[in-house]
């Protein structure tokens, strides 16, 4: 395993927190500095989505679209035809929530490098409630051919992911969370589109995390270790294309899999893992995520707890799963 440098204070109570979207804001500005074809379009949420950093640096390359998500992505597609690399941002509930067909036809089928940045994804949006808690975006976006789908794990990685999609030449979706999220990676940690990373080695179970859930899996693995269970934690920021080799190599070793996401497991990251395992390496799988229901209002931590998405809740699920599941591929 190649070494993945973790933030040394990741397990401290004082671990540095930052909204993942802040990394996007910095990454977009940096992408704008290194490539003048990068332009940014926003649907009346410039500061919320952290596009204001780009807007201040490059006012003539920032376009205010207003509250019109269909126009957001189709104007971007036209700009891409004119040689631009357009980044569009809104809340994930609205883009890709409202404009999926335009994304499919004018960005993906048209194969234009339109970037869709969906902020405020997941239940951790909190008090705004179910209408604003986007849980179906992973399923929506990964079903589209040509589309790259990324859910960065923290703000440091979001910055790298943003710079990477500025140069990948493809339609791409990046899922961001609103709340402050613990930073587990470092500036030196690798990020490459399509790569998964083993953050912690273990032999009893593979924990696959995407987006905000990877930190929670690291916490869960610590708790499981206290119970004598060695969990391998694999961070999967790119949901599509999936790093099958890294995932399957870990699963072959552990024989049990738990996936975790702050999204619907139906068609989501858990769905992607279920598809991979059932076709390439059938293995018992437990999907942690939202099970076919909508979110609701509440404090972010309260909701994560309620939906079983905290480190301690996940550790309980994993323990129960291990207790009732044979370890495959060990014979």
């Amino acid at each position: 395993m190649s070494h993945y440098p973790l933030n040394p204070s990741v397990f401290d109570d004082e671990v540095k927190l930052e909204p993942i979207r802040a990394g996007f804001g910095r990454g977009l500005k940096a992408a704008g500095e290194s490539n003048e074809a990068v332009v940014a379009l926003c649907a009346d949420l410039t500061e919320s989505t952290q596009m204001h950093l780009f807007k201040e640096a490059f006012p003539t390359r920032f376009v205010e679209i207003g509250v019109a998500e269909q126009n957001l992505v189709t104007v971007a597609s036209g700009m891409a035809r004119a040689g631009k690399i357009p980044f569009t941002s809104s809340y994930a509930a609205f883009s890709p929530g409202r404009n999926w067909e335009q994304i499919k036809t004018t960005a993906a089928l048209n194969n234009q490098p339109v970037k869709i940045v969906g902020s405020h994804a997941g239940v951790s949006v909190g008090p705004d409630g179910a209408t604003h808690q986007m849980l179906e975006d992973i399923a929506l976006m990964r079903a589209i051919p040509n589309m790259v789908v990324i859910a960065p794990g923290d703000s440091v990685e979001a910055e790298k992911a943003t710079k990477a999609i500025a140069e990948n030449g493809k339609p791409s979706y990046v899922r961001l969370a609103r709340e402050k999220t613990p930073i587990f990676s470092t500036d030196e940690s690798p990020f490459e589109i399509g790569k998964a990373y083993v953050l912690r080695e273990g032999k009893d179970v593979t924990l696959l995390g995407t987006g905000t859930m990877t930190y929670q899996l690291l916490v869960a693995a610590q708790l499981l270790a206290e119970q004598g269970l060695e969990a391998e934690v694999v961070h999967v920021p790119t949901i599509k294309p999936l790093d099958e080799d890294t995932i399957l190599a870990s699963v072959k070793k552990t024989g049990r899999v738990v996936s975790a996401e702050e999204a619907q497991v139906i068609g989501g990251f858990g769905g992607a893992i279920a598809e991979l395992l059932s076709e390439k390496l059938p293995t018992p799988l437990r999907r942690v995520g939202i099970y076919d229901r909508f979110g609701e209002s509440g404090a972010p931590t309260e909701l994560l707890e309620y939906f079983g998405l905290t480190g301690s809740k996940i550790a309980e699920s994993v323990q129960a799963f291990i207790a009732t599941t044979a370890q495959y591929h060990q014979w």
Partner: protein, 287 residues
């Protein structure tokens, strides 16, 4: 392009109509009325208005054309073949497996198609995005962006989002055509979902509005030229057309919206087009 007389442009439109009938009959599916009604506009676009090079579709200095109502693409394919983008024989592959001429246009399949379209309502905003990039980012003033929309398609909210956007940013290098043929799949536009006052709608969104007879090529060409001269607003040309124009039994009948002619009907239609409905005694050559 350019350099053709009005009479020659009219002949091009007639040739485009013949190609439409022939390719639709061969395809066995597709839309008849819209493409026939648009033939004069496409003759004007591809042989006069657009500054393009058929042998160099990605020519960086070109004008850009977006077709928003992708189901009318037979008229675009026919005009492109007529203009020399590809051989006319290829028109007979329309809608067939392996063809570059997909049922609805796809950018990556056929050079010269600027964007993939079909689902209605998205062409105007793409054209507006292109025009915005030229006008407000790259400061390129000599290139123009054209788009053709259907009238039924104006039911889509995306169109009015784009109309508002183009008005706000005064996209004077954007020139839109509305094919005002008054029909859509379920019937007359004013019965399905009324569009009038259509001129007033566009004007209130900050557009310069021109209305033309969509079968009078001289006025189509003049309107586009006027649109290019307007420097502080986008221009929309409401082109009043007759659906199915040129084939009398298809004209005005919304049932021909999504239907191709069978071989008998195609023969009759071509006969009418070759003789300009009996006005010419000796038939010209077909495709």
């Amino acid at each position: 392009m350019g350099g053709l007389t009005i009479q020659q442009l009219e002949q091009k439109a007639n040739d485009i109509r013949k190609s439409i009938i022939t390719m639709l009959e061969e395809a066995g599916s597709g839309h008849s009325a819209g493409p026939l009604g648009l033939a004069d506009i496409f003759a004007a676009l591809y042989f006069d208005i657009l500054n393009i090079r058929p042998d160099e579709p990605e020519w960086p200095e070109r004008d850009v054309f977006f077709l928003s109502n992708g189901h009318t693409v037979p008229v675009q394919y026919a005009a492109m073949a007529e203009a020399g983008f590809f051989d006319k024989d290829e028109l007979l592959t329309l809608r067939k497996f392996g063809s570059r001429l997909q049922g609805h246009p796809e950018r990556e399949k056929l050079p010269g198609i600027e964007s993939t379209s079909g689902p209605l309502g998205s062409g105007l905003s793409q054209a507006a995005g292109y025009a915005y990039a030229l006008q407000h980012i790259d400061n390129v003033k000599h290139r123009f962006v054209y788009v053709v929309m259907g009238d039924g398609e104006l039911n889509e909210g995306n169109i009015w989002e784009a109309a508002m956007f183009a008005g706000k940013y005064k996209l004077s290098q954007l020139i839109a055509f509305v094919d005002r043929n008054n029909i859509q799949i379920d019937g007359n536009t004013e019965d399905v979902m009324p569009l009038e006052d259509l001129r007033g709608k566009w004007e209130s969104f900050g557009w310069h509005v021109l209305e033309v007879d969509g079968h009078n090529i001289e006025s189509i060409v003049d309107a586009a030229s006027m649109g290019r001269a307007i420097s502080n607003r986008p221009t929309v040309i409401i082109a009043h057309t007759i659906p199915g124009k040129g084939v009398d039994f298809m004209e005005y009948d919304y049932k021909w919206h999504g239907t191709p002619p069978n071989s008998e009907q195609a023969k009759e239609a071509l006969q009418k087009l070759r003789t300009l409905d009996g006005k010419i005694v000796h038939e010209g050559a077909g495709i």
